[in-house]
Symmetry: C2
Subunit: 460 residues, 2 copies
């Protein structure tokens, strides 16, 4: 289809109408000169002029934008039946069965909902009902969703709302960030040290008469700065949380479905001996279709049901969503996208390592599969966040038609989380462009390679 047919308004008209009609809290990328995308395919997006952008950030388009298998599965089911789960339908149960096959056996009871926010909210409801308690331990810089109950447990958002008092049932433990956090790579046992922090938070809650319902964490923190918790951390946290009567909720909304390469789920990076009590899924699950999922144990599910409460979700688990979910799983397997994430992610990290030895602005490179963070700092000893520079990189890359974003509490972590069809040539292309812009910025601010030797140089 030719691009001009895909545009019904001029870009200026679109911008004007958006300013008039869309909530001003809904931010756009590159607000001073936003991009109008009219079509996309694989790891590429195309603007109204037909210009191609390399997409390094849309982890929702997990198996590639507009994957034909996913589109046709959705279209076929849409024309056949789309209704709620109060009727029996094969897609619902077959999809649950297929998801179950990717998970530890204990995680066997599914709830299908429409968004990561709905999934995490339901996870909290399950945990609170199961435990009979209210208190939640969350990690600093965490983001778990946009509904009221999740804003409350999202320091990533709360840091920008200093006027809003923290909900008394919410307790924040330090982010297990071994680069910038309280315990770093030079610590003898950061997993234990960070888990002990959670234990201490739980103790404080108990001292004040509270009771823990759950600990919740992304298996790898995304908005929080592409943080990779040290292996063994989750096991020890789970032990503390279980001892306190609470549940461990692993939020896989950003990172699940093979992205980390070695495993299908990011929590599995912690070791085979770790099984969360609840796992939430979202974004990539339907390659852009609004759907998500919560899985838990029979025990937790039965406790929720025993409250006598019915749970009904109008759109959740409808035959179209399940058909799309099944197609996504098929494509991941058929195209070995988990393997591709491992191979291309490894290649990308090796390219970035080389850049690190050349560019003092690169403080840290961390990642698993096609989930990679590049943290920019002005000084490798002090870890001074290079926030403005990260913005400059993003804007420069935009001009080079590469879509990248910066995140983390200091907005200085460049985030790679592309569609999994992202290839080694795409990695070459973007790293080349990064090399050029970093060289330019470093020259402008007078940073030179000598500084590299000042600080910590290890790679995770």
């Amino acid at each position: 289809m030719c691009a001009d047919k895909l545009e019904k308004l001029t870009k200026t008209q679109t911008i004007d109408l958006r300013a008039k009609l869309i909530g001003p809290s809904c931010k756009i990328f590159f607000s001073d000169d936003p991009i109008k995308i009219v079509r996309a395919r694989g790891q590429y997006m195309y603007d109204e002029k037909g210009q191609r952008y390399l997409d390094c950030i849309n982890n929702v388009a997990h198996v590639g934008h507009c994957h034909p298998d996913v589109v046709s599965a959705g279209a076929l089911q849409m024309e056949t039946l789309n209704t709620n789960s109060r009727f029996l339908h094969d897609n619902l149960v077959l999809y649950a069965q297929r998801l179950q096959a990717t998970l530890p056996a204990q995680l066997s009871v599914f709830y299908f909902v429409n968004s990561g926010s709905e999934a995490n909210d339901l996870a909290l409801r399950l945990a609170r009902q199961y435990s009979g308690s209210q208190d939640i331990v969350t990690l600093d810089n965490a983001y778990h969703g946009h509904v009221t109950s999740l804003i409350e447990i999202s320091p990533y958002k709360l840091h920008h709302m200093p006027h809003v008092p923290l909900n008394p049932f919410v307790h924040v433990a330090p982010s297990p960030d071994v680069y910038r956090g309280r315990y770093r790579r030079d610590h003898p046992d950061p997993a234990k040290a960070y888990a002990d922090e959670v234990r201490d938070v739980i103790k404080r809650v108990q001292t004040q008469g509270g009771k823990i319902a759950a600990f919740i964490a992304e298996s790898l923190q995304s908005c929080g700065g592409q943080v990779i918790p040290p292996a063994g951390y989750f096991q020890q946290v789970a032990e503390h949380v279980h001892k306190a009567g609470g549940l461990f909720i692993a939020d896989e909304v950003q990172v699940g479905f093979g992205r980390v390469g070695t495993h299908f789920w990011a929590f599995q990076l912690q070791g085979d001996d770790f099984v969360p009590d609840i796992v939430t899924m979202g974004k990539p699950i339907g390659n852009g279709h609004p759907m998500s999922c919560v899985v838990t144990s029979k025990e937790v599910a039965e406790a929720f049901a025993s409250s006598g409460n019915e749970y009904f979700n109008t759109f959740g688990g409808n035959p179209v969503s399940c058909a799309i979910g099944l197609a996504v799983l098929d494509v991941i397997a058929k195209e070995d996208l988990q393997g591709q994430a491992l191979r291309v992610g490894g290649y990308l990290i090796s390219l970035l390592e080389k850049q690190k030895s050349k560019h003092p602005l690169i403080g840290d490179i961390r990642g698993r599969g096609l989930f990679v963070g590049v943290e920019l700092v002005r000084d490798r000893s002090k870890l001074t966040p290079a926030t403005a520079e990260a913005q400059e990189v993003i804007y420069w890359l935009k001009e080079e038609r590469v879509l990248m974003s910066a995140d983390g509490p200091h907005r200085n972590v460049l985030k790679f989380k592309p569609p999994l069809c992202f290839g080694t040539d795409d990695a070459d292309f973007v790293v080349d462009k990064m090399d050029a812009v970093l060289t330019e910025i470093e020259a402008a601010i007078g940073l030179n390679a000598a500084n590299v030797l000042n600080g910590e140089n290890d790679v995770n």
Copy 2:
């Protein structure tokens, strides 16, 4: 497509897998002998044997199950582009513009989300940010969604959770039910009387040091028992709420988009002088596609934005959802479905009135367009809810291949909210069946037409 191709498992297999894999809180219709639906079209659903059911309840399939215009709009956009609203896209703004044209001019700023629950939760966040207050007034028997913040304001759910303490920020006013409520059709001014109850609740909150953020109500209460508030009630409530610094949220998730026949939005039944501060939309908006919307005034939207908070919803307002939303609006207009709701709804009510004079079990018939409730009572003076009889009707109708449900606090209100393509022949068919089953039940329990004269006989 032949039905047997649509079944991948036997019905028994589907039931067994569902019992094993799907949360036991997710209830199924007719749990002792559930229906397996494999395809649907218009107002008809078909089971695995090819048996046709007349659908009187799926208000989500607003313009008819699997409407080809909606399906093709969705499929075309799915194969072209499906991404988030951080990029400019024409569908987003054109859709907002089209929705705006159906609304009072003040309601001009849109937020697109994925479900009625996400919409109502965002409405609460908007109101709380705008007002700087926390307290919410909700109606008895109301249901506003399944996320934590909405369960809290849903007495329909809370009545089944007596062990859960009411959130101290939530205050319940009586449902403006002129049949069974505190003020009935014989009251000289039920609109004022019920609005005064809200005023009194607000006063109590203020006396206790609280501050009102919002009053929320469905424009017509659905789960609460197909309740039609008396005209003028919303205006007076809005006056009290505004005076207290709060906002009026009209929940149109169940009842919007032309269903009420005379108007596009059910809040408009109250009179042209009434404009809510926030309107939430859902279910019918995408004919089954997971999408929903919040609209408010510039003033409220700006107050929300001024908090510095970004609002991002991964799937909300994506080009596929907006293409589907636009197609739904097109079909409503092209097929004059609002007009059809008015005509067929009027015809249905006239048929039901005749049944009322014949069947003492029918206590009340109330409705607007194709949103109709038939309240069954054992005694027209005492209004004793005929709960078991309503269940019997539902099960009998199922055997006759008519899908109907019973709701309300006593589960004794038969609910009509069919796809708007529901025709007069469909109305004839279902009312005929109802006549037969009511005759049978009344004979069995010894209710006879003489009782009809005992009680109030007026029709709303």
